[in-house]
């Protein structure tokens, strides 16, 4: 089911959580709402779920206006950041809840419920934990139960609020790959909220980057990472060096005092040379060299005292034989320039 959000506005008192937000989510896609805390992403998700209602604007499922429908009528699956499992019910009863509360006409028989729940338990690989209580499970297991519970009612849309936010790094990695696999199997339109750029870029088909109640950019993970539409997106997705600069004849020069333009360069798009290179290269002094990991990370300081982060391959580091406190030339391979007021 496709989701269309149009001109949504939401205030909490004097705080504007969403400021004229429009977003199109095509059928069957897995979309990430990415942004820092307070950017309105969770509010947008809750408005899509019907747990919160917009001050103005519309929400449509498959073109049908459901802005005034309650969460109950919308038939969405919602996974909460802190799981929100029913603590007095076993894993089995948690998953069965959505089926048991149906009106008598629509309610499956006990046998059907048992079959369905066991199917889902198998899907989340917790067959042996059916009679346990949520408090007896680990965080990752709880989140999987929450997901199974949401899927049990066969929702038209799956919404996940920071689904891996309170898990440790390793479980998080496993679980997000698992979510991607699951989505490839069931193809249910899914929206998940995250503040973790890696998570958003790795799992989703499309990413909507949010900031201060607005959507800054929507696109495939590659698009938003490689062609950020605004300084904010550039900054938020991945590490970045920020310089001032000037543009002459389509060439960008990085300087201390040049005004008017902001120049963004990713650390891995900077190279290091011993000799002055192209005219846009500049001088810096190496301060710290960290060779651990697939890329060597070098911290340097420009002549005017600004810090620079550079990432080069291990081979390149080996060829250069860099040492600490050495004066080198830094060559930008690719830069992004934004005018001071924000547009590129």
């Amino acid at each position: 089911m496709s989701i269309t959000v149009r001109d949504i506005r939401k205030n909490f008192g004097h705080f504007t959580a969403l400021d004229d937000v429009s977003l199109e989510i095509p059928d069957g896609q897995l979309v990430a709402l990415l942004g820092p805390s307070g950017s309105g992403k969770t509010t947008l998700l809750r408005i899509i779920a019907g747990l919160e209602f917009p001050d103005c604007g519309t929400v449509r499922f498959d073109g049908r206006d459901i802005t005034d429908h309650s969460a109950r009528e919308r038939r969405v699956g919602f996974v909460f950041q802190h799981y929100a499992l029913f603590r007095h019910m076993t894993v089995f009863e948690n998953i069965a809840f959505g089926l048991r509360v149906r009106s008598r006409k629509l309610r499956p028989s006990n046998e059907q419920i048992r079959v369905k729940v066991n199917e889902l338990l198998k899907l989340i690989q917790l067959q042996n934990q059916a009679q346990r209580y949520p408090s007896q499970l680990s965080g990752g297991q709880r989140q999987r139960v929450a997901l199974a519970r949401a899927l049990a009612v066969e929702p038209s849309v799956l919404l996940l609020d920071e689904p891996f936010g309170s898990l440790d790094a390793k479980v998080r990695m496993e679980l997000r790959r698992w979510l991607r696999q699951l989505h490839d199997e069931v193809h249910i339109t899914s929206v998940f909220v995250t503040h973790d750029q890696d998570e958003a870029l790795e799992v989703s088909d499309r990413v909507a980057v949010m900031n201060e109640g607005r959507i800054e950019q929507v696109g495939s993970p590659d698009e938003v990472y490689s062609h950020p539409a605004s300084p904010f997106v550039y900054n938020f997705l991945g590490n970045v060096n920020l310089f001032h600069g000037r543009v002459d004849n389509d060439r960008t020069y990085i300087h201390e005092s040049a005004t008017g333009n902001l120049v963004f360069v990713r650390p891995h798009l900077l190279d290091i040379a011993r000799q002055p290179g192209p005219p846009n290269s500049f001088r810096a002094t190496t301060k710290h060299i960290n060779a651990a990991g697939p890329l060597a990370k070098i911290e340097a300081v420009t002549e005017w005292g600004a810090p620079v982060h550079i990432e080069i391959s291990q081979e390149r580091l080996h060829d250069l034989q860099l040492v600490k406190d050495e004066v080198v030339f830094i060559v930008p391979k690719e830069v992004a320039v934004f005018r001071k007021n924000g547009t590129s």
Binding site: S70, R72, G77, A84, R87, F97, Y133, S135, Q136, A152
Partner: protein, 303 residues
């Protein structure tokens, strides 16, 4: 209260030794503190209790039972049960509704409602009784109209029931409120997105999570409803066999120098108090046990 509290803490599952060592006191301090507590309890709780039962049985078992089965005493017991039987269920419904509204929703006037719920705690019971006399009494605001229509509230059973409801209404709400607030709305929202109706959410999700607090609130509410003296005394009119509750009946007997009969009825109230304490301890113990089980199970998984 103090007795049951110390009894319960002893039942908390023992912690790993390293944790207790850091917080334990020298033996002498332990004995001193325990001794002080026991002496205090003995002087203010056990001694009076012993006196009540001792005096009640002074003239033998048959006198004890005859003073309880005397018509006026029976009427008082019946009226007390009636007042509590009406006040407790009503306050149960009111308390749950109020705690639910305050704990789970945001609305204008919320803090006013919280203050109002506490009002009966802060107002002297005598004043609570007087409020009803001023409202429904002969010289009261609504009194003349009510009398003209043949409705008697003051110096009659309705007044006693009203006064009892008023003084006991904070108990259930006060017990539930912290629980409901602490648990937040997540589970209710989850139930809602899974298609549960408001009632289903309430009975299947909200209530099971607060059942021990609820039971505890009802027990306290009932104890107070049966033992209330001040407010009921003002509105009752002390008509023997008609508007006397057990506490009022005890007072009358006592003022008539019928000490043994007074203490016999008093022993019933004391028994009720003891029973309440036992049930309360069991409830607290159960709730704690459940919590401890959940916590230890959670720790096991975390390890």
């Amino acid at each position: 209260m103090t007795a049951s509290a110390s009894w319960v803490t002893q039942n908390v599952p023992s912690r790993p030794r390293a944790a207790t060592k850091a917080t334990s006191e020298p033996a002498a301090v332990c004995w001193l503190l325990t001794g002080v507590a026991l002496i205090f309890l003995g002087a203010f709780l056990f001694l009076p209790l012993a006196v009540v039962f001792g005096t009640a049985f002074q003239k033998g078992l048959s006198f004890y039972f005859s003073s309880l089965s005397e018509p006026d005493a029976l009427a008082a017991i019946r009226l007390t049960l009636l007042a509590a039987g009406i006040a407790v269920p009503l306050n149960l419904v009111f308390g749950v509704a109020a705690a639910w509204a305050i704990g789970k929703f945001e609305f204008i006037g919320k803090s006013v409602l919280i203050t109002l719920i506490d009002l009966p705690f802060s107002v002297s019971p005598v004043v609570s009784g007087l409020i009803y006399v001023l409202l429904f009494g002969l010289q009261g605001l609504l009194g003349p109209w009510l009398i003209a229509h043949g409705v008697r509230i003051i110096f009659a059973v309705p007044g006693i029931v009203l006064a009892t409801i008023f003084v006991t209404f904070p108990f259930v709400a006060r017990e539930l409120l912290p629980m409901m607030q602490a648990q937040g709305n997540d589970e209710e929202e989850a139930a809602l997105t899974l298609g549960a109706s408001g009632w289903q959410t309430f009975f299947r999700v909200t209530m099971p999570n607060v059942k021990w607090a609820l039971l505890y609130g009802v027990i306290l509410c009932n104890a107070r409803a049966m033992g209330e003296f001040g407010a009921v005394s003002v509105v009752s009119g002390h008509i023997r066999g008609l508007t006397n509750t057990m506490p009022l009946h005890i007072e009358i007997l006592y003022n008539d120098y019928q000490f043994v009969a007074a203490f016999a009825v008093a022993s019933l109230l004391a028994l009720l108090a003891l029973l309440t304490l036992v049930v309360k301890s069991i409830v607290e113990w159960n709730a704690r046990l459940q919590l401890a089980e959940q916590v230890s199970a959670g720790e096991e998984v975390a390890r």
